[in-house]
């Protein structure tokens, strides 16, 4: 995991060392060290909360710039369905697709189209008798990563199917090669237009596959301004959209689950809510559920840190947009086996539990450390003020036991020490008198 490449970085000169990000990080991955925020790469799940929260705009998402790919002979755009929710008065997805061609892409393959295929196969998968239920969606990479680090018991419940972004890239590249046999594999690049930095991280450290077929991740916020300009000139766009309301609905929370045509589902969004749901699922609640859709961002993908529009406005726009769309425009070939899912749609490798929270590989040692943490924790005021640079008194006690902190950094302990010193001095001066 040490070569894991994250997608959040810090502008050190802008960071004031305030504790907004520290206190709200859902995996307690951030500390203030030497006056600025530092992320523990092992714990970070790329949820983007710190980017959204930072009042000084010191946290930035890393993503690829379109410019970087100008030398490729054939550029494929993979627009996320959330992109369609960014535009005011958008009557038809065709405008966006034509706009992307205007921007210089050679081919546009909607991720929503791949999402419809994923939905069909998920319906089949749910009919399998031997699977762990509830099945938990693996489309949000933050959630998959979170489960792999915090919910070991639920790793087997994750849907072991490649997500729409991956499928879209695979299918788009295949189509491109068939249409243009003169192209070599290295001439083609598939670029995802992303609502969130977690997808940047996904492509660098894929889940379920050895190597992602996506070559780069652009941000919706960057492409948006190019698109707005290019879409202005489009009057009668060619009919090219290939998705129904199922695909478009994947952009907001609940869309993936509803597409299963099964009312035994739960959908939650916002990372804190998702963690609460997972805690309950792990306790065996909701055992009658078939499917759980979790999105780390508020409102679902439309709430991603790389979007331009407010997630709820984007969601409302998508509702208008999909009003006259057919339910779905993508059907998978009929198969005699109602539980059929092609092997190439399934994960190549399982998601492994990585116990980043574990104090020591040796259980005896871990127990000793836990006892030390308990003892140190008792010294602190339990106010969770964050002034030491850790999110809670408990997290700070853990840091000290891991030799990443000094109890004197607790301002309450420091105050006590100063009081004692002062008293000693006073007594000394009295005895001199």
């Amino acid at each position: 995991m040490s070569n894991f490449k994250h997608s959040v970085f810090l502008l050190e000169d802008k960071c004031k060392g305030c504790t907004n990000c520290v206190k709200r990080c859902p995996t307690e991955a951030i500390r203030i060290q030497n006056g600025h925020s530092v992320i523990d790469e092992e714990r970070c799940i790329d949820c983007g909360e710190c980017i959204r929260l930072c009042p000084y705009k010191a946290k930035k998402a890393l993503y690829d710039k379109l410019d970087k790919y100008k030398d490729y002979k054939y550029k494929i755009a993979l627009p996320a369905p959330a992109l369609y929710g960014q535009f005011d008065h958008l009557e038809d997805v065709d405008y966006v697709i034509s706009g992307l061609y205007e921007c210089g892409f050679d081919y546009v393959f909607e991720v929503a189209k791949a999402a419809e295929i994923v939905s069909e196969y998920t319906r089949n998968y749910l009919k399998r008798p031997d699977i762990e239920k509830p099945v938990i969606s693996s489309a949000c990479p933050v959630i998959a990563r979170l489960i792999s680090k915090r919910f070991p018991y639920l790793c087997d419940n994750l849907l072991p199917m490649i997500p729409p972004i991956e499928l879209a890239a695979k299918l788009a590249k295949k189509e491109a090669m068939e249409k243009h046999p003169e192209l070599k594999e290295e001439d083609i690049c598939a670029l995802f237009i992303s609502p969130c930095p977690a997808k940047v991280s996904y492509v660098r450290n894929p889940i379920g596959v050895e190597k992602s077929s996506v070559d780069g991740v652009l941000s919706i916020s960057e492409i948006y301004f190019l698109l707005v300009n290019s879409m202005k000139n489009i009057v009668n766009p060619e009919h090219s959209a290939q998705t129904g309301l199922v695909g478009v609905s994947w952009a907001s929370s609940g869309g993936e689950a509803k597409a299963l045509f099964n009312d035994r589902y739960l959908s939650a969004d916002g990372i804190e809510n998702c963690i609460k749901v997972l805690d309950e699922v792990e306790n065996g609640n909701f055992s009658s559920l078939e499917f759980i859709e979790l999105n780390a961002c508020n409102g679902g993908c439309v709430g991603g840190a790389l979007t331009v529009e407010n997630p709820y406005i984007a969601k409302a726009r998508l509702q208008t947009l999909r009003r006259y769309l057919p339910v779905t425009q993508n059907h998978v070939p009929k198969n005699d086996d109602p539980t059929f899912v092609p092997t190439e749609h399934m994960w190549e490798k399982e998601l492994e539990y990585s116990p980043v929270m574990q104090l020591d590989a040796d259980m005896g040692e871990a127990m000793k450390k836990m006892a030390d943490i308990q003892a140190i924790y008792e010294m602190f005021p339990h106010l969770d003020c964050g002034a030491c640079g850790a999110p809670t008194c408990r997290a700070f006690a853990e840091d000290i036991v891991k030799h990443n902190g000094n109890a004197n950094d607790c301002i309450f302990i420091m105050r006590e020490k100063i009081r004692e010193l002062y008293k000693e001095k006073e007594n000394d001066s009295k005895s001199v008198d």
Binding site: Y153, G284, P355, Q358, M363, K368, Q374
Partner: protein
């Protein structure tokens, strides 16, 4: 041999929405120690059910968890109404939970049976009018 580690929690009886929080915290700490996932699950399910029981029937109480190598003991003690007929209370489907918690999906009469199922040993000591102490042991 490591010294046993003790965790203590006050289970708030007034606040139904926070019921189950102690079991989440225990889960977190057991993970830090590196207890196997299936053991953590058994402990957290048993403790969760017990916590819910204390909130529904006894206006809260105390939860103590003792971790030793190879063994986790959960002690849930309350000063509630006590259980008159323990054998009856252990029957699947038997419940005295009020209607308002049933509407939330609790009170199905599976709490105690589940606690027994998920642990290697369960002991109930109860005095009517004084309270109940449930001691559960999970071996690993």
């Amino acid at each position: 041999m490591s010294e046993p580690i003790k965790f203590h929690f006050d289970v708030d009886g007034d606040n139904f929405s926070s019921a189950g929080e102690a079991s989440v915290q225990v889960k977190r700490m057991l993970r830090q120690i590196g207890i196997p996932a299936d053991v953590i699950r058994r402990v957290s399910v048993a403790m969760y059910e017990g916590e819910i029981n204390m909130v529904i029937h006894a206006d809260g109480g105390n939860a103590d968890v003792v971790v030793e190598p190879g063994k986790i003991v959960i002690i849930l003690a309350d000063r509630g109404p006590g259980i008159a007929d323990i054998e009856l209370a252990m029957t699947e489907g038997y419940s005295t939970a009020p209607e308002n918690v049933r509407s939330l999906g609790f009170g199905a009469g599976m709490g105690l049976p589940n606690m027994k199922r998920y642990t290697d040993d369960m002991k109930i000591e109860s005095v009517v009018g004084q309270g109940t102490t449930v001691t559960m042991t999970v071996l690993f």
